[in-house]
């Protein structure tokens, strides 16, 4: 290990360690980065060049069509049909043209060349996309003639894709639906679990230990075990009382039930770790457990509540399975994960839709995650490092 690299002044081992770490970080970052870049790219470019070429010009073979006879104008004894192949504001340009009714390959003519055609007409295509089809006789076309060209497409970034998914794809509504699911499904389990955790930590009642062992066991029970009976139960209840089986309150309670074991476990570890003297002196002063809990324990438990809150928020926000089973797929209920999965099936080749909608769906969790990372990590550690 004594061999050192002169310039960097570090051992080979340390150097290799850095390189290895760098490689891992790159592998971990590149997929998301590629998606992010792509979500801002023009959808046509996205389809024909890799995102790593996003800053380069792209060349694409395209076809245009001349206008029809009604569009012709008489200029200096000539009849001219003119127009532009590019839509207004386009940054594309013509690299070469030819083919179609213009003889030769599509790379044969420089832009601006006047090509004389067999029937004595002339055709010209300029770099800016303006074409001019001229003849000494009046045109009688009722259908434009097709010509081909190679277009230079300069790099183009915009929010167009985002606008598209948020408006025409209905992603904005599913964004709101996801919030509607997530907020109560985060708050309700925190409240329920905090009371239960306090009882498990500081109150005496028969079966306390036994019940808590069940909670610990339930930590690992896959929620798949619950789905079929619950679905049947919801259907029965819905049919009996005549309301939709798939409803927001239904999914809130489902997420609450599935999130509770972890919530009770984490919060009980935290609340149980508060100093005994604190609770006991409050009792001596005549406070009831309810007063101790609401006035003393709850304010002290904010870090633990926050860390579980982030957990539950991310879990509910990112959930697909529970939403698929307990919520409908119509516009007023479908959540983003479910919507995204649908798009993956139906719009699998439209990467402009997929990349931007994926980013809309991961934006909120990323913000929550980065701004509250400290609490989140603390929560992870409380659950996992014990006994380590």
């Amino acid at each position: 290990m004594s061999t050192r690299i002169p310039l960097l002044n570090m051992s080979i081992g340390a150097f290799l360690a850095r390189v290895l770490l760098l490689i891992i970080v790159v592998i971990w970052t590149v997929p998301t980065f590629g998606l992010l870049i792509s979500s801002f790219r023009d959808k046509d470019q996205l389809a024909i060049s890799g995102w790593w070429n996003a800053l380069q010009n792209v060349q694409e073979n395209q076809a245009g069509r001349t206008g029809v006879a009604t569009a012709q104008q008489e200029l200096d004894g000539q009849f001219v049909i003119s127009g532009n192949v590019f839509s207004e504001g386009s940054t594309q340009s013509v690299a070469s043209f030819g083919g179609g009714f213009v003889p030769g390959e599509i790379t044969d003519y420089e832009p601006g060349t006047v090509v004389e055609l067999e029937d004595g007409t002339t055709f010209r295509l300029d770099a800016d996309g303006t074409y001019e089809y001229a003849s000494t006789e009046p045109f009688e076309l009722d259908r434009g003639l097709r010509f081909f060209y190679v277009a230079n497409i300069p790099p183009y970034f915009s929010l167009d894709n985002y606008e598209e998914v948020l408006t025409s794809e209905g992603f904005a509504q599913s964004f709101i639906n996801t919030f509607t699911v997530t907020i109560p499904a985060t708050i309700i389990p925190i409240v329920v679990a905090a009371f239960a955790a306090y009882a498990f930590a500081w109150m005496e009642f028969p079966g306390r230990r036994f019940l808590f062992v069940i909670v610990v066991g339930l930590l690992v029970v896959p929620l798949q075990m619950s789905l079929i009976p619950l679905l049947r139960f919801y259907n029965t209840v819905g049919a009996t009382f005549d309301f939709a089986a798939k409803s927001y309150p239904g999914i809130w309670l489902a997420h609450t039930g599935f999130g509770l074991p972890l919530a009770v476990y984490l919060l009980r570890n935290y609340i149980g770790g508060l100093p005994r003297e604190l609770i006991e002196s409050a009792k001596i002063d005549g406070a009831s457990h309810f007063q101790i809990f609401t006035r003393l324990v709850l304010p002290l438990s904010v870090p633990a509540l926050a860390s579980f809150g982030i957990f539950q928020f991310l879990w509910v926000w990112n959930d697909l399975l529970v939403a698929l089973v307990f919520l409908g797929k119509q516009a007023d209920q479908i959540v983003m994960t479910s919507k995204l999965r649908e798009l993956l099936g139906s719009r699998g080749d439209n990467w402009e839709v997929l990349t931007s909608s994926a980013f809309v769906s991961i934006l909120v969790p990323l913000i929550v995650f980065y701004s509250l990372q400290r609490y989140f990590v603390r929560g992870l550690l409380a659950g996992s490092v014990k006994g380590g």
């Binding site: 290990m1 340390a14 360690a17 770490l21 971990w28 998301t32 590629g34 998606l35 024909i48 890799g50 995102w51 790593w52 070429n53 509504q173 639906n177 509607t180 109560p184 309700i188 329920v192 009371f195 239960a196 306090y198 009882a199 109150m203 009642f205 062992v213 909670v215 066991g217 930590l219 690992v220 029970v221 896959p222 798949q224 075990m225 619950s226 009976p229 619950l230 049947r232 039930g257 074991p261 009831s288 309810f290 926000w317 697909l320 399975l321 698929l324 516009a331 994960t337 999965r341 993956l344 990467w351 997929l354 991961i362 969790p365 990323l366 992870l380 550690l381 996992s384 006994g387 380590g388």
Partner: protein, 342 residues
């Protein structure tokens, strides 16, 4: 925009009512308890009869009641019911004994799912834990370590479906003579190779590519937890080993790893449980086509395929449960040992 603002308002109202009802329950029930079982106090302020013991006997149940009811209704009862349903026909009406399990054993797709699940259970936790540990160790020694950790940790925040979109893009395939837009084929083509339709390559390679998605998500979790555990390894022990001339690799395997073995096991177990439940990735990427089926997705499939077969779906769910039971027992034991040490 086709936003439906009536729904937004309804949602806000529903949220307020839902959360409000809960608050009213906890405050109301405790208030009632304190008033119904009030101490009998004489006029001179002397307590004639204290009913504190009654209050203290009832109050715990007001506290744990909602949690117990919800756990019972959403986890305990349904789990038992699922096992029972697995012995019934598709509508849950007629007892059919072991027929659903017999069907499963003879079903090629089910066996495929079991095989794949075993692969997932071996590879994903092992790879996530190993890479997580590697990053934890490497990042502790460089100045940009915290940035590196954050970047590796980021996928934890991304949904499995979102991650599937990200990776489907990485694996995207275009014909051999076209410019590739998926980075993997981009690299392959740049190196002179033939681009591949990765997602359809059987046997196992495509499953492995799906596993990479979960490894990508879970490594950050392993890293954070293991990195905290590594910080708990006493510095003197490491110094002593270095003075004795041990190299870093030996120190890592002979001193660090044994010291954090408990945490490694916890991380491994946690990821194993995640793997068992994972279904979103397979559903979004292949829906079990090209031999990539896993149990959780297959169960979902049977819940809804052709109107749903609850018997078969329950049987598949019960198989997942059987796989978790050893972990469940281990978890409870570990908890009890910890309690005994308190």
């Amino acid at each position: 925009m086709d936003l439906n603002f009536e729904n937004v308002i309804n949602a806000v109202i529903a949220i307020v009512i839902g959360v409000g009802a809960l608050i009213i329950y906890f405050f109301g029930s405790n208030w009632l308890l304190d008033n119904i079982f009030r101490d009998v106090v004489r006029e001179d302020g002397h307590v004639e009869k204290s009913r504190e013991s009654i209050r203290e006997a009832i109050r715990p149940w007001l506290f744990v009641g909602p949690a117990i009811i919800l756990l019972g209704l959403y986890l305990v009862y349904p789990a038992i019911q699922t096992v029972i349903l697995s012995f019934f026909d598709e509508n849950g009406n007629e007892f059919v004994g072991l027929r659903n399990y017999q069907w499963a054993i003879n079903d090629g797709e089910f066996r495929q799912a079991v095989t794949n699940n075993i692969l997932w259970l071996v590879i994903v936790p092992a790879a996530s834990t190993a890479i997580g540990l590697l990053v934890a160790v490497l990042a502790d020694r460089v100045r940009w370590g915290n940035i590196a950790k954050s970047l590796v940790f980021t996928p934890m925040a991304i949904s499995f479906v979102g991650a599937s979109v990200i990776w489907k893009f990485v694996y995207d395939y275009r014909g051999p003579n076209n410019p590739q837009i998926g980075v993997l084929n981009g690299i392959v083509q740049a190196l002179g190779g033939e681009p591949q339709a990765w997602i359809t390559i059987t046997p196992f390679l495509n499953s492995f590519l799906l596993m990479i998605i979960l490894i990508w998500i879970q490594t950050g979790f392993a890293m954070v937890v293991l990195s905290a555990a590594l910080r708990g390894v006493p510095e003197e022990t490491l110094e002593a080993a270095r003075i004795d001339g041990a190299n870093e690799i030996r120190i890592f395997f002979n001193i660090m790893v044994p010291q954090i073995m408990g945490t490694i096991l916890v991380v491994w177990t946690t990821i194993t449980i995640t793997v068992l439940k994972v279904f979103d990735i397979v559903l979004a990427m292949t829906n079990g086509q090209w031999d990539t089926e896993v149990l959780a997705n297959y169960m979902y499939d049977w819940m809804f395929r052709g109107g749903g077969d609850f018997g078969r779906g329950s049987a598949i769910a019960s198989v997942i449960m059987i796989a978790v039971i050893p972990i469940l027992i281990w978890n409870v034991r570990r908890f009890q040992q910890e309690e005994a040490m308190r």
